[in-house]
């Protein structure tokens, strides 16, 4: 459009030129016919014709400028002005690029996690069925899935008993379709002798048809496949199909084994489809009714899953009927579920605090990721927003200073009759142009930022499936951001710049600038300092949190330990054979050169996993409830010596204890103090579960020093360590190496393959990294926030420096007079410094006040310190004050070095 306009204008110009030339030529012709020489005729014609440029100008005026042409004109002019002052332009564009880039990167994660709709048909109609209670619901006898406990809102979960799913599905009137799904965990998949571990999702027969997605190959799971006794089939994810079968069409119909059970591949899902959880990407989809196939006792498992009305395991989503609101559906479904859950509560105790159904929008899938990341993302978004605000203030400040330098130019334009609005628009175009340049560069910065953030979030986890990218909504966000910032930082300086007294400005008298402008300058600087302090305090709090997490006493030695998991149960070993298999490997691993000690446990320490059970002690009344629970870890031989946990009393568990006839256990200090205060616990007995101690099967043979169990942040619970041979599936091996533990991985894999090639080693990690991964969020916050605070600090210092340097330059004359009247250099420097100290102190005071009121929002992110941690606040204030002094030193010195003679001549 604009190009076309330009082209038309050009065409008009040449047409006019031709028209005039033709007129002149005809005129000269006539004169020559009258007998005048060519030269004279030409001259006379031109003279008679009149002022050609004036004529053209008049014509152009008449054509008028379209607003687009005017914009292009402004842009060209703005571009030229920017090029004239490359330092200013570079600084402005760079700081904007960083600000906009950081915002875009964080927003792309918000988009991926919080906003993006599932790639299914009409995602807006989808709803998720959750339930909610105040305390732990006693009506739930068993559960396979997850629930969330929030201290403020209570307990919630999305898992339902299968009979409830069937009831809701059959009798609701609000949903056009309802489908169920459940996590199947990791399965051992083997095809043609090759094994690996895959993530699988159990889905109801109408899962795919309700979501309205199409298979990339083969067919979907249907209702016929999802009933007990149906030939077992699976649907593969597109990425797994590509990875494992190279996208071959022959894969359809092939037989595979999942935990040794035969399945047939029925189809492949569409490339963009990942299920209903944006945080997970299952490799396989399996019918719900195939779940018992993986159980040890299939009949028992099927009975529990499909008949037990108090066993919660199926997650439910549905599609709203057209013209049905979420509220109507909620009323309908909640009433149905209430009746159901009432009928399943058998005691009075269970009837208290029954689960209540809560319907939520499901357009962007189930919300496990949102739960984990939404609050951190909002905090990060607020931070990058503040950084962008600092960048804007910075550029506004620079523009104000530049407007002062351009006073004469603007005065000339105004005096020649340019409208004020026109000049403001011209200046605004310049700042929006700056913002767009910053935005373009910002998109590049955002690309880097997204890669960096993904890397930070994944932190060495292979299974990290969250992929943020620069999608169209994200780019639209960036565009809007650039436009807004451009207007934001440009408008006030532009209006200020055109509010000038034309006459003195034209005469280029160094008339003192209107005081309002200086006040604005200072206010911007104060505001920048306050925001920087806020960010620095946040960074200080997060860094202190990280360091207090790092200094948590583990109670064991985390260095040089290799971790990996094996699950031989999935390949058919059980009971004695399973224990023998693991012990055989244990013995083999011990012979690897470079390995000091080897042990195993049902899960690794501080990995977030744990198990609790009630404990009974003979002769003590059993107290039901959480109070009497203890944490359990099933361990292999030499666990304490491998992990370097000191044994305080008695002995540790050895090889013979694993399969021996007597059941023995080691307890930790906390357990000993809780259950056997002032007694020696060795030789005493305890049992698991309720009852009166009849099953007090375990004898305590040792007491170990307290060591962290599942988490760094929680207090060490009472723990009993029992031999792993007591009912175990998969185990985690721990190898203490002499050197780099990861150097052992190849040998370990080779040994496992020799013993049984069908059992893959998974979750290979080091103990140190495993622990770091559990504090990933704190680590990311500390690192990102430090970066952000550094950035903010730098920008504010640049801003302050620029403002002060400008102030000093503007006051050169005044300073000259002061010096001529006898003020010495020290006094001049202190005069300038006083002003800066005033600005700095005001900024810091405001920042402190705001921080005082807002740090409590960060409380849930902190560990080991209060939100008003004095050390963090003091440190941040100190750092900022030091940076400000640095920024001010040069302008103050420059002021004191002004030569009074030059300064006065300057006037």
């Amino acid at each position: 459009m604009m190009r076309w306009d330009f082209w038309r204008r050009k065409q008009r110009e040449t047409d006019l030129d031709d028209e005039i030339a033709y007129d002149l030529a005809l005129d000269a012709e006539e004169r020559m016919r009258a007998g005048v020489t060519r030269q004279e005729a030409d001259r006379a014609s031109r003279r008679d014709f009149g002022n050609v440029p004036l004529l053209k100008e008049g014509m152009r005026e008449m054509w008028g400028w379209t607003s687009l042409e005017r914009l292009a004109q402004d842009l060209r002019y703005g571009w030229r002005t920017l090029r004239q002052n490359p330092l200013f332009a570079t600084m402005a564009v760079l700081s904007l690029a960083l600000g906009i880039g950081a915002n875009t990167a964080i927003f792309s994660f918000m988009d991926a996690i919080l906003l993006r709709a599932l790639p299914v048909r009409r995602p807006g109609e989808l709803v998720i069925l959750n339930w909610h209670t105040k305390g732990p619901p006693t009506v739930v006898h068993g559960m396979s899935g997850s629930w969330y406990n929030d201290p403020h809102t209570g307990w919630s979960s999305g898992d339902y008993p299968f009979p409830a799913y069937e009831l809701l599905r059959a009798s609701n009137r609000a949903l056009s379709s309802m489908f169920g799904f459940a996590d199947a965990g990791q399965l051992n998949l083997s095809v043609q002798g090759q094994t690996d571990l895959v993530d699988a999702q159990l889905v109801s027969g109408n899962f795919f048809s309700s979501l309205g997605v199409r298979p990339a190959a083969g067919r979907w799971i249907s209702d016929d496949d999802d009933r007990s006794g149906a030939p077992p089939i699976v649907v593969m994810s597109y990425s797994y199909w590509r990875r494992r079968f190279a996208g071959s069409a022959d894969a359809i119909g092939q037989s595979i084994f999942l935990n040794l059970m035969p399945f047939t591949i029925a189809g492949v899902s569409a490339p963009e489809f990942f299920g209903v959880n944006p945080g997970g990407a299952p490799d396989l989809f399996i019918p719900l009714h195939a779940a018992p196939l993986f159980a040890e006792d299939q009949q028992e498992d099927a009975k529990q899953r499909f008949l037990d009305k108090n066993f919660y395991w199926v997650e439910i989503m549905g599609r709203l009927r057209p013209c049905t609101s979420l509220g109507q559906a909620q009323t309908d479904l909640a009433a149905l579920f209430q009746r159901y859950v009432n009928s399943t509560a058998s005691t009075e105790e269970e009837k208290v605090d029954l689960p209540e159904l809560v319907l939520a929008g499901g357009g962007s899938g189930i919300d496990s990721l949102r739960r984990e990341y939404s609050k951190p993302l909002y905090v990060l978004m607020a931070m990058v927003g503040l950084i962008l605000a600092i960048a804007c203030a910075n550029i506004a400040n620079l523009l104000l200073a530049r407007a002062a330098a351009r006073r004469r130019e603007i005065a000339v334009r105004l005096s020649l009759g340019a409208g004020r609005l026109r000049v403001v628009r011209q200046l605004l175009t310049e700042s929006v142009l700056l913002a767009f340049l910053g935005g373009v560069l910002g998109v590049w910065v955002a690309g880097l930022g997204i890669r960096f953030l993904t890397w930070l979030l994944a932190n060495g986890r292979d299974s990290f499936t969250l992929h943020a990218n620069l999608s169209w909504p994200v780019l639209a966000f960036t565009f809007a951001l650039a436009l807004t910032t451009g207007i934001l930082f440009g408008l006030v300086p532009a209006i200020q710049a055109t509010r000038i007294d034309i006459a003195p400005a034209l005469k280029q008298i160094r008339a003192s600038a209107p005081p309002s402008r200086l006040r604005l300058n200072k206010m911007l600087a104060i505001y920048q300092i306050a925001i920087s302090l806020l960010l620095t305090i946040a960074a200080g709090l997060f860094v202190r949190t990280l360091s207090s997490l790092h200094s948590v006493e583990l109670g064991f030695d985390r260095e040089n330990v290799l971790l990996f998991r094996l699950n031989a149960k999935q390949t058919g070993y059980s009971d004695q054979a399973l224990a023998r298999f693991y012990m055989d490997l244990w013995a083999r691993f011990r012979t690897i050169p470079g390995v000091r000690d080897v042990t195993l446990s049902d899960f690794a320490l501080v990995s977030g996993a744990g198990g609790q059970t009630g404990v009974t002690i003979p002769g003590r009344p059993h107290q039901p409830g959480r109070e009497s629970e203890t944490s359990v870890l099933k361990i292999g031989p030499a666990f304490f010596s491998t992990m370097r946990i000191p044994i305080l009393l008695g002995r540790e568990l050895q090889e013979r204890d694993m399969t021996g006839p007597f059941k023995v256990a080691v307890v930790n200090e906390v357990f000993a103090k809780k259950y056997f205060p002032h007694e020696n616990p060795t030789g005493r007995h305890f049992g698991f579960g309720g009852g009166d101690g009849k099953f007090a099967e375990f004898e305590i043979v040792g007491v170990a020093k307290a060591a962290r169990y599942d988490s760094l942040k929680q207090a060490i619970p009472p723990v009993v360590y029992i031999p792993f041979s007591q009912r175990v599936d998969g185990v985690s091996f721990e190898l203490r190496a002499r050197g780099d533990p990861l150097g052992l991985v190849a040998t370990v894999r080779q040994i496992v393959r020799q013993v049984d090639s069908r059992v893959p080693a998974s979750d290979v990690n080091t103990q140190a990294r495993q622990i770091d991964q559990t504090i990933n969020r704190e680590r990311i916050f500390a690192q990102l926030c430090s970066c952000f605070a550094g950035l903010a600090l730098l920008m504010s210092c640049i801003g302050l420096y620029g403002m002060m340097a400008y102030t000093v330059a503007r006051r050169t004359g005044e300073i000259g007079i002061r010096m001529a009247l006898g003020a010495d250099r020290r006094r001049i420097a202190s005069m300038v410094l006083r002003e800066m100290i005033w600005i700095g102190a005001t900024g810091l005071a405001i920042g402190l006040a705001v921080a005082w009121g807002t740090t409590r929002y960060l409380e849930s992110f902190l560990f080991g310190l209060k939100p008003k941690d004095p050390l963090a606040i003091l440190l941040a204030t100190g750092i900022l004050a030091a940076a400000l002094v640095l920024a001010c030193y040069d302008p103050a010195m420059r002021a004191s070095r002004i030569d009074p003679l030059t300064a006065l001549r300057h006037e």
């Binding site: 047409d15 030339a21 033709y22 009149g50 004036l54 008049g58």
Partner: protein, 115 residues
């Protein structure tokens, strides 16, 4: 805008009459800018000389109002020349202007009639 024929009998063109003169000139057929100027001069017996500084803006203004259209043609001088032509709307306008003009002349003549 004031138009005169320097040195000789000066006639000042009334506001808005240039447009009418142009339309009138073009009644005889398409003509280029120079030709329009010449025709007005000749038919006024050299009493009216239209300055190009007024003529061309007037032509372009009339064209923008849709009263005349233009067309580029190769002319006798082997140059590109822009020929203006009356449109239907222009013809209508000319009729209207003419009657208005006649009314104006009659009215003014009546006022100025020697007593």
């Amino acid at each position: 805008m004031v138009h005169n024929n320097p040195g000789e009998n000066r006639i000042e063109l009334l506001q808005g009459t240039l447009d009418m003169l142009i339309l009138r000139t073009l009644q005889w057929g398409p003509q280029h800018g120079h030709g329009v100027g010449q025709a007005i001069r000749q038919s006024s017996a050299d009493l009216l000389q239209i300055e190009r500084g007024s003529l061309y803006p007037a032509l372009h203004r009339l064209e923008a109002r849709g009263l005349i259209t233009s067309e580029w043609k190769a002319s006798d001088l082997n140059r590109r020349a822009k020929y203006y032509r009356l449109t239907a709307a222009g013809k209508k306008q000319l009729v209207a202007e003419q009657s208005k003009w006649k009314l104006l002349v009659r009215t003014i003549a009546r006022v100025m009639r020697p007593a």
